[in-house]
């Protein structure tokens, strides 16, 4: 059904690539993160909700077609459909049905509640290709409501201390999820680095309710950020832009923050364990729910996960992709 090629995962029976990392003729895109959606291909196919984000990435000229979740189309000998993956807005699993049975390629996914995107739906299949960014038993997420409460408390204590709260997070998905989750518990406006604004705007257009956001980049000189929450991409850390934020406490929202040493090594004041990827129990639960007899793991801790599944009696292996999972910003 699928083969690993220099350009990415290729389906020869359907004549398309899935999340290719080189320009190709036909590309199926699971979601809009940079390690999955790369520019230059002749034609893209994605889930409906992903189009707005891909447009902002690829520009107005790119040929982007889309499907609603669940609608089946035929490409060559293959029936293709997208199903919600719960990762970010428009993220999709790709279901492929053909002579080799039903294959599902998960893309990135999570099982936790997320107000910014459709929830993951398990899709029965014979072969399941799962991401394994956090495929180790040390990765286990607390409920996001608890993490959000921590973030709000951190913001509050920084307000009391007259500091700004700089929360680093990924520009697509995490920032909007934070803003949407925070909107459930507060109505204070937040600030965001200029790089984040277009994607926040795209989410708003898609109907996601989020905190009001002010640009943190175009404020007049001398604007005080004391007491404010500022979302910023990791790439802004240590840049001169940070200087205007004054006395600050910084934090990183990522599943990577689960490990104390990672946070300390990067010397963040706080690390909030909030991930858009499945944790270990969610990976195992999902694999079970698909009913797949064969599971291929990709990215992150693919080998331990595959070995673990093998020990559980599943047919398992790994497949190579260029996915990066949670960007560490290095």
């Amino acid at each position: 059904m699928l083969s690993e090629t220099p350009a990415g995962v290729y389906c020869s029976a359907g004549g398309f690539y899935i999340d290719p990392w080189l320009p190709v003729e036909h590309a199926l895109i699971t979601h809009a993160h940079g390690d999955h959606a790369r520019p230059g291909s002749a034609a893209y196919l994605c889930a409906d909700a992903s189009v707005a984000l891909l447009r902002r990435r690829f520009g107005a000229d790119a040929l982007i077609e889309s499907l609603p979740y669940g609608r089946r189309i035929t490409r060559g000998a293959i029936t293709v459909s997208f199903h919600p993956a719960g990762h970010v807005l428009g993220s999709a699993q790709v279901r492929l049905e053909g002579p080799d049975g039903v294959w599902v390629l998960s893309g990135d996914y999570k099982r936790d509640d997320d107000p910014t995107c459709a929830a993951f739906e398990p899709v029965p299949c014979d072969t399941f290709i799962t991401e394994s960014t956090f495929g180790l038993p040390i990765y286990r997420w607390d409920p996001s409501s608890a993490v959000i409460a921590d973030i709000l408390q951190w913001w509050d204590s920084n307000r009391d201390a007259g500091k700004s709260s700089v929360l680093f997070c990924y520009t697509i998905g995490k920032a909007q999820r934070l803003l949407a989750e925070l909107a459930r518990v507060t109505d204070r406006p937040a600030h965001a680095h200029g790089m984040m604004l277009p994607m926040i705007e795209a989410y708003r257009e898609a109907g996601v309710t989020m905190l009001p956001v002010r640009p943190a980049t175009e404020q007049p000189r001398g604007t005080s950020f004391a007491g404010e929450l500022v979302l910023a991409p990791l790439s802004a850390r240590g840049t001169p832009w940070m200087r205007r934020l004054g006395n600050l406490s910084d934090a990183f929202a990522s599943g990577l923050m689960r490990v104390r040493g990672v946070r300390r090594q990067r010397s963040f004041d706080r690390g909030f364990v909030l991930s858009d990827h499945a944790d270990w129990p969610a990976l195992l639960r999902t694999i079970e729910e698909t009913g797949a007899r064969r599971v291929l793991a990709t990215h992150g801790h693919a080998e331990p996960l595959a070995r673990f599944l093998g020990e559980q009696g599943l047919q398992s292996g790994t497949i190579r992709t260029a996915w990066e999972g949670e960007p560490s910003g290095d």
Binding site: L136, P137, I138, R140, R237, G238, S249, R258, V259, R260, G261, R264, Q265, R266, S267, D269, R270, P281, H301, P304, R307, F308, E311
Partner: protein
């Protein structure tokens, strides 16, 4: 335990020294004394001797989670810490009930008795305990069990917090924290007691360490108020002889008596109530041995007897702090020096040459330093006395509390006479990065240093060169390959991790012959590591006197000695 876990979390969640101190102050102000005593024990880096091997923790975690050893190894590779790996994996074992035993009970009634148990009994206890704990408490428990709990604060910060909580001077807390003590409620009460406690007669006085001179040379006042002493390159130590006992303390407030039995033996012949400040040196036949030799004595715990023969040591006395039980730190140096000369007469009364008295350069500071520096060439034949130690002589009417002590360290590439700051910068950087974050004293010497131009080797001048030889003459004596001071300065300035303090030469007082005081950039200590920290350090690298006050505050201060209205020398 919950309160201590919260404290650990607060300290762990900030890189700000002030925030750490205020978290500890809040804890000390509210915790029961018995708990606070143990908290002080752990915060100051003391450890329970390993009670449970890491391998046991690992096995218990595996049997509690039903996972295979290989997957634990994979996890360990990511986490890099055994206790944390186990605590993270144990997250799948639900917390069954909540229980908040005080820290002291945890340690005294639960953890310490494990020592007497066999492995199955230990496992039964520990696995039942962690069912009542949350993730952070489990992590702390496992760290305590393996004796690896490290909290990112130094003893100095703990002293500061205790002092704030008790309303006492930091120095008295620091003195009370020195040496050996057992953490319990009564001890904690005496630690914070307003009344002077003198139960432990082994205690040294606070160590008086070098600190960068802030401001100009004028701050030193009259040059005649200074004497020049040799600062030897060894282990700074205090020799305390009180009652029947002798205690030798390193400047890291560590007892090193047992490592240097010959010094202890020699000190037993000092009068009761004597405290000497000085330097432990590897020394043979009137020559200092390289510092590396001394390191053998520091490093090895066993076979001390053999090392006593192969690497003999002496105690080079700089100062007399207590004489016949009387604290004489307030007396003028001249008086203390006179007493020292009596107490340490170089005869066999006090162990012969084991206890020596540091030499004082008889030319006072204002006689210019050319001749002094030139003698450095001779002294460094022994490789160790390449530091100058200038010490203030108490001066009438002076606010002598802030004494200046200098160490002059020459780092030179002897092949071409070029000063090469790179190795020095590297050493300082590694020292700084080791100190950063952990708050653990590394004992690395050369933390602060003066770089001077290598006058001695490059410009042979008759030893009796007249003081009156003016600057013109001296300037003319820099041969071509001898680097001029500005070169050193610019070379160091390129090294972004160092803060540089520029001083006029305190000896020649010549602006043409500056001395650079180099210290690990304080910015590094605030931002422990990573590329961001390096960038921040670069940004905050400061040269010259235009240091912002935020940086200046982080420059380590000397602990002032008590000097009361001194008499003229």
């Amino acid at each position: 335990m919950i309160r201590f876990a919260r404290l650990f979390d607060e300290i762990d969640q900030t890189t700000s020294t002030n925030a750490k101190v205020s978290a500890m102050t809040r804890y000390f102000a509210s915790a029961p004394p018995a708990d606070a005593a143990w908290a002080v024990f752990f915060l100051t880096g003391r450890r329970l001797k390993r009670l449970v091997p890491s391998a046991s923790i690992r096995d218990w975690a595996l049997s509690a989670t039903g996972l295979e050893p290989w997957i634990l190894n994979e996890c360990y590779a990511v986490v890099g810490d055994g206790a944390e790996t186990a605590a993270l994996m144990l997250d799948q074992v639900p917390r069954e009930h909540t229980e908040d035993l005080p820290l002291a009970q945890w340690v005294e009634q639960r953890i310490l008795p494990l020592r007497q148990m066999d492995a199955p009994a230990q496992q039964a206890r520990v696995t039942s305990w962690w069912r009542s704990l949350d993730r952070l408490q489990r992590f702390i428990l496992l760290k305590l069990l393996t004796g690896e709990l490290r909290v990112g604060v130094s003893q100095t910060l703990v002293s500061r917090a205790l002092a704030q909580a008790a309303g006492l001077p930091v120095t008295s807390i620091a003195a009370r924290l020195m040496g050996e003590w057992t953490p319990h409620a009564a001890w904690y009460a005496s630690l914070l007691s307003q009344a002077p406690t003198d139960e432990d007669r082994s205690r040294p006085y606070p160590f008086f360490l070098a600190s960068p001179l802030e401001g100009g040379i004028e701050a030193l006042g009259d040059p005649a108020a200074w004497v020049v002493e040799w600062k030897w390159d060894g282990i700074r130590a205090q020799l305390v002889r009180r009652g029947d006992a002798v205690h030798l303390w390193s400047r890291g407030e560590e007892l090193i008596t047992h490592r240097f039995p010959e010094i202890a033996a020699a000190a037993t012949r000092l009068p009761d109530g004597t405290v000497l400040d000085g330097e432990v040196l590897a020394f043979r036949e009137d020559r200092p041995l390289p510092f590396a030799s001394l390191q053998q004595r520091i490093g090895r715990q066993k076979q001390v007897a053999q090392l006593v023969r192969t690497v003999p040591v002496v105690f080079m006395t700089y100062d007399l702090l207590e004489d016949h039980g009387e604290d004489i730190r307030a007396k003028p140096l001249a008086e203390r020096r006179a007493l020292m000369e009596i107490r340490l007469k170089p005869d066999t009364t006090y162990g012969g040459s084991r206890l020596r008295l540091v030499e004082v350069e008889d030319r006072p500071l204002h006689n210019r330093c050319g001749p002094h520096l030139r003698t450095t060439g001779q002294r460094t034949a022994g490789q160790s006395a390449d530091r100058l130690h200038l010490r203030r002589v108490a001066r009438r009417g002076a606010r002598a509390l802030c004494q200046g002590v200098f160490r002059a360290v020459e780092r030179r590439n002897r092949r071409n006479g070029q000063v090469d700051p790179a190795p020095h910068a590297r050493a300082l950087r590694s020292c700084a990065s080791r100190r950063a974050g952990t708050g653990i004293r590394t004992g690395v010497r050369g933390h602060r240093a003066l770089l001077t131009t290598p006058v001695g080797d490059c410009c042979p001048v008759p030893a009796n060169a007249a003081v009156a030889e003016g600057q013109e003459a001296r300037r003319g004596r820099y041969p071509g390959n001898c680097p001029r001071p500005p070169d050193i300065e610019s070379a160091i300035a390129r090294s972004s991790d160092l803060a540089i303090f520029r001083l006029p030469d305190p000896i020649s007082r010549s602006p043409d012959h500056p001395i650079l005081m180099v210290s690990p950039n304080p910015g590094i200590r605030k931002a422990p590591s990573g590329s961001d920290a390096a960038a921040q350090a670069r940004r905050s690298a400061v040269t010259g006197s235009a240091m912002p006050s935020s940086v200046r505050q982080n420059v380590p201060k000397c602990i002032p000695m008590l000097v009361r209205a001194p008499t003229s020398r």
